[in-house]
């Protein structure tokens, strides 16, 4: 079984407990306005061009018709056939391909390499993109990791096939589950999809007694209006006995570079959320009452 992956990151310390290896799946059903991994949205391979790393040697220009625009500093993406010649010829790593097909065994063998570091807490994290978009591969990974004694955390937007969530819960996975907006219309505006499926899946996980950590990406002036936060607080309050904790994911602007490298527009602010904002969110969501923390 193969999976389309855009990164396997070892020593992840922000994606679950302990030291973890995070497998980033490529492809996502949502189109969140603030997406910090824009290369994760499409399941297809994509060329990323890091302009600031380019030393202007011109080697890629002679190989490719798509590279002639603006002295090579722009790519005509309609002409690009992802031949990867420009990637292979670049000595400074300015051209990269996002997305590679890996077999489940390849993924597991990389994950296993850090087994000595996992101890009792750490392990494997599936992230993305959206792992539930590639359910068979994801489940096979979880199963094989489990057979190796490695636990799995799934970072998910929840917009996926219920069966996947059920099976992975039965395999003992822990879910880091995003709540981007509680109001369904709001959710549609911000992410391109209604949140009905997301909330249904979450309810099912709750009813199965699965370990769930809620994750609340908060983006100043986008999904942190009084009304948004009020609804979120209510939601947390109703479910507070069912999740382990809720983590606020403070907006950061680092996705801009990736958007630029992909040649796509990035409509969010280039200002990071401040500590003061985060503090006020914590207060408004009920940090003690609803067990809300900062990631």
């Amino acid at each position: 079984m193969n999976a389309v992956i855009f990164n396997v990151q070892r020593f992840s310390v922000h994606d679950g407990d302990g030291i973890r290896t995070t497998v980033f799946f490529k492809g996502c059903p949502l189109r969140c306005l603030w997406c910090h991994n824009p290369e994760s949205q499409s399941k297809e391979k994509q060329l990323m061009f890091y302009k600031n790393k380019c030393v202007g040697c011109g080697k890629c220009l002679s190989l490719c018709g798509a590279r002639g625009v603006e002295n090579g500093l722009k790519i005509d993406r309609t002409q690009c056939v992802l031949c990867e010649k420009c990637v292979n010829v670049c000595s400074v790593g300015a051209n990269k391909i996002a997305g590679t097909e890996m077999t489940v065994d390849e993924i597991i063998s990389t994950v296993k390499r850090d087994k000595v570091f996992y101890k009792d807490k750490g392990g494997l994290t599936l992230s993305g993109g959206e792992p539930s978009m590639q359910p068979s591969a994801a489940l096979e990974i979880i199963e094989k990791a489990k057979a190796e004694g490695i636990n799995t955390v799934i970072e998910t937007c929840g917009f996926g096939n219920a069966e996947f969530f059920k099976k992975s819960a039965q395999l003992g996975a822990t879910f880091y589950y995003d709540i981007k907006a509680v109001d369904r219309e709001r959710h549609k505006t911000l992410t391109g999809q209604y949140n009905d499926v997301i909330l249904e899946n979450l309810d099912m996980l709750f009813s199965l007694g699965a370990r769930v950590v809620l994750r609340l990406p908060l983006i100043p002036n986008v999904n942190d209006s009084k009304q948004d936060l009020y609804l979120l607080r209510e939601f947390l309050s109703e479910n507070k006995d069912k999740y382990i904790r809720a983590e606020i994911m403070k907006y950061h602007n680092l996705g801009i570079s990736k958007a630029n490298a992909l040649g796509v527009k990035y409509s969010m602010s280039d200002e990071n959320a401040t500590d003061a904002q985060a503090e006020s969110w914590l207060d408004m969501l009920g940090r003690d009452e609803n067990n809300v923390v900062l990631d």
């Binding site: 990151q9 991994n37 890091y50 570079s257 990071n272």
Partner: protein, 726 residues
């Protein structure tokens, strides 16, 4: 302060007036004659009696710390200032030069070594170096007790009168210095307006009525006595301070202890002391951490000083509390303490025949050379070998390729261009490497013997077990354990180069050996494809078995080969690796290498870690690569460098992750871990030279990016806010 351009003429005159006696006696008599003239300085911040008898701006230097020497600049300045004594000074100087016999020294050296050294292939020799004397010998017995002990030892070794006389005279000289401390303290008290400081001077004067003659009786007297001997020894390395001072510490109230420690930490900083060691295990793996260990760590964290190097010894029973405190200190940005693993260090030492009881008494001197406190002379950088440079001469028929005209350094052992397999090439490389070792070790031994003859060291002989007991000087094999150390450089650069050859020439057969060597000769000019392939071939530090296994093979070979070489003091040579900021210099002196390093580039591996920028799979992979070395072979500190920003340590989660990382490294065979804290300056450098900093990863939940991939304004943002872990 009256230390500028002192001549130490009393020393020199007495030394020559006693030419009928043994060398070591003449030196001790000189020290005694000079003792009264040593200035005692109470620096404002420390109020401790510092005796700077060996500051390098003295024309004649003698062996409380440095060994006999003549300082040309200071001498000339002194002569200028005292023209009437010109002739007398010059005749003393001539005698001194004759004594050191530089000419004979030069003639004794190995010509081939000199060629190697001039071409930056290696370095070898001897010097007074660092040591970890057991200061507590004098603290416990006083000089009176030491004199009695010296007599006791003399009776057992009847034919060593010269040596024992010298040791006894040295104790007399220490008494003179003690009286001098008292005198200076009383004078200072008289001239001191501040009431508190006056009382302090009087208290010190009071203490020096008894010490150093009698045993110390509390922390105050012990610190004062320690400080005199320590500064006489050029304020080198305090060693396992929390062990040998603890008996005095526990007799004293905590407020006084803390005040004394703060004064000493200021003193260590002021004197640029080398290495202080805390915690560790005993031979039964009992933890030895005590209140003094905690107090030292806490107070050092408060100062934020990076001097002295702080070493923390860890093992299976290290308290969690100590780990947490250590991480807090590391997070401050100094990277201290450096972490050592008893489980591996003690095993390595025991392989040399050191008993478990003694191996568990190890500590550090200098940057990170391992010694057994008060029991050993483990050698102090007796030499260095640049493995990358050795590969260069191996590939180019014994030639140094750094110059327009290649320079022949030795007759080739074979032609690398004609190697038919990788194994054949590796065998050829080892021939060169072994030969360089042979030459280097021979030179180091000659130099050691020479140095030993002219620079016996009485104070270290008194403070290091074995010397008095055997009646043999510290430099001449007196200590209980005597070994020597050669440091490796350019490990990863060499392994990456060998892997590139194996892959491109012998596995993929994309190029021939001839093409590869030609390309190196041309510094890759007009070899774009080959250069690109070399540059992008897999590198050490990413947990890739094919590369790592070559690295381990080369290093294990070297470490094991060294141990077959005998050291002039007795014992054997062992390996170590702690390149630090010398790396860039070694890089510049190495020509083009198959790992894609061009002539003139300075990017070279720091210690046993990857070449900067090459370990792009994160710290777990970097660590797993380093675990492929047999780290129970090298006994001179086998330093692993990891880079993190302070922000990793901002949260408990990050701190825990770091502790897990360090513990895992140690449980699986790692010897040492140094944390390089990535600060603002590092990130600014990364913006300018992204190649060297490719491994910096910005980590946020669900997101990761290499720092150098970020757009410049976002990089600036990360630098300004430094809230993302790297």
């Amino acid at each position: 302060m009256n230390t500028k351009f002192e001549l130490n003429e009393n020393f020199a005159e007495t030394f020559y007036a006693n030419s009928g006696k043994t060398t070591i006696e003449r030196i001790a008599l000189g020290m005694l004659a000079e003792a009264e003239n040593y200035p005692v300085t109470f620096y404002d911040k420390t109020m401790l009696p510092s005796v700077d008898c060996c500051v390098p701006d003295r024309a004649f230097i003698h062996p409380w710390a440095f060994g006999i020497n003549y300082n040309k600049d200071s001498f000339n300045k002194k002569v200028k200032a005292n023209p009437e004594k010109r002739d007398a000074y010059y005749s003393l100087r001539d005698e001194m030069i004759k004594y050191c016999n530089e000419e004979q020294w030069q003639n004794g050296r190995i010509q081939e070594y000199i060629t190697f050294q001039e071409n930056d292939l290696c370095w070898g020799g001897n010097w007074m170096g660092h040591a970890n004397p057991d200061f507590a010998r004098i603290l416990r017995l006083g000089t009176d007790g030491m004199r009695a002990y010296i007599e006791e030892c003399r009776e057992k070794n009847p034919d060593k009168d010269g040596f024992y006389n010298a040791c006894k005279i040295t104790m007399d000289a220490l008494d003179v210095i003690g009286r001098n401390v008292r005198k200076t303290a009383l004078e200072n008290a008289e001239n001191e307006a501040d009431e508190g400081r006056r009382a302090e001077f009087l208290r010190i004067a009071e203490v020096f009525l008894k010490i150093p003659m009698q045993p110390c009786y509390d922390m105050y007297s012990a610190v004062m006595c320690f400080w005199v001997i320590f500064t006489l020894q050029n304020a080198d390395s305090p060693g396992n301070f929390d062990r040998y001072m603890y008996e005095y510490f526990k007799k004293t109230d905590m407020e006084e202890n803390r005040a004394l420690i703060r004064r000493m930490l200021e003193g260590f900083q002021l004197h640029r002391s080398w290495n202080l060691c805390i915690s560790g295990s005993d031979e039964n793996w009992n933890d030895t951490t005590n209140e003094l260990s905690y107090m030292l760590l806490e107070e050092i964290t408060k100062t934020g000083y990076n001097t002295p190097n702080l070493t923390m010894r860890t093992h299976r029973n290290t308290p969690e509390k100590l780990w947490k405190l250590a991480v807090k200190s590391i997070a401050q940005g100094t990277g201290l303490p450096a972490l050592y693993n008893d489980e591996i260090v003690c095993t390595a030492l025991e392989k040399l025949g050191i008993t478990p009881e003694d191996s568990h008494q190890y500590c550090m001197n200098g940057c990170n050379q391992i010694d057994i406190l008060g029991k050993s002379h483990m050698g102090l950088e007796d030499g260095e070998v640049n493995l990358g440079k050795v590969l260069e001469i191996c590939l180019h028929n014994g030639n140094n390729m750094l110059f327009d005209e290649p320079r022949k350094l030795l007759e080739p052992f074979g032609n690398a261009r004609e190697c038919k397999s990788f194994d054949e090439l590796l065998e050829l490389y080892f021939k060169y490497l072994d030969h360089v070792c042979d030459v280097l070790v021979d030179e180091a031994n000659i130099s050691t013997e020479m140095y030993t003859k002219i620079n016996p060291n009485t104070i270290r002989s008194i403070l290091i077990e074995g010397c008095l007991e055997k009646g043999i000087d510290y430099k001449a094999g007196g200590p209980k354990y005597n070994h020597a150390q050669i440091l490796l450089e350019g490990i990863a650069d060499t392994a990456d180069s060998l892997w590139a050859i194996k892959k491109l020439v012998f596995i993929e057969k994309k190029y021939t050996m001839n093409q590869l060597v030609d390309a190196l000769e041309d510094n890759f000019e007009n070899w774009d494809d080959l250069y690109h392939d070399c540059k992008t071939s897999e590198k050490f530090g990413n947990d890739i078995d094919e590369v790592d296994s070559i690295c381990a093979e080369v290093v294990n070979h070297f470490n094991r080969y060294l141990k077959t070489k005998k050291c002039a003091r007795g014992g054997v040579y062992t390996g170590g690796c702690s390149t630090f900021d010398r790396a860039a210099d070694r890089g510049i002196h190495t020509s083009a290498l198959p790992n894609g390093k061009k002539k003139g580039e300075d990017n070279f591996a720091d210690s046993i870690s990857a070449t900067p920028g090459c370990d792009v799979n994160g710290p777990t992979a970097a660590i797993l690569s380093c675990l492929k070395y047999d780290q129970t072979e090298p006994c001179s500190g086998f330093v692993t460098q990891l880079k993190f920003t302070k922000s990793l340590f901002n949260t408990e989660k990050g701190q825990d992750a770091f502790i897990t990382l360090a513990k895992t490294y140690f449980e699986n065979g790692g010897q040492q871990l140094s944390i390089n804290v990535v600060d603002r300056d590092t990130l600014l450098k990364a913006q300018k030279e992204p190649e060297k900093y490719k491994s910096l990863v910005v980590r946020v939940g669900g997101f990761s990016s290499y720092f150098c991939d970020l757009d410049e304004d976002l990089q600036n943002n990360v630098i300004a806010r430094s809230e993302f872990s790297i």
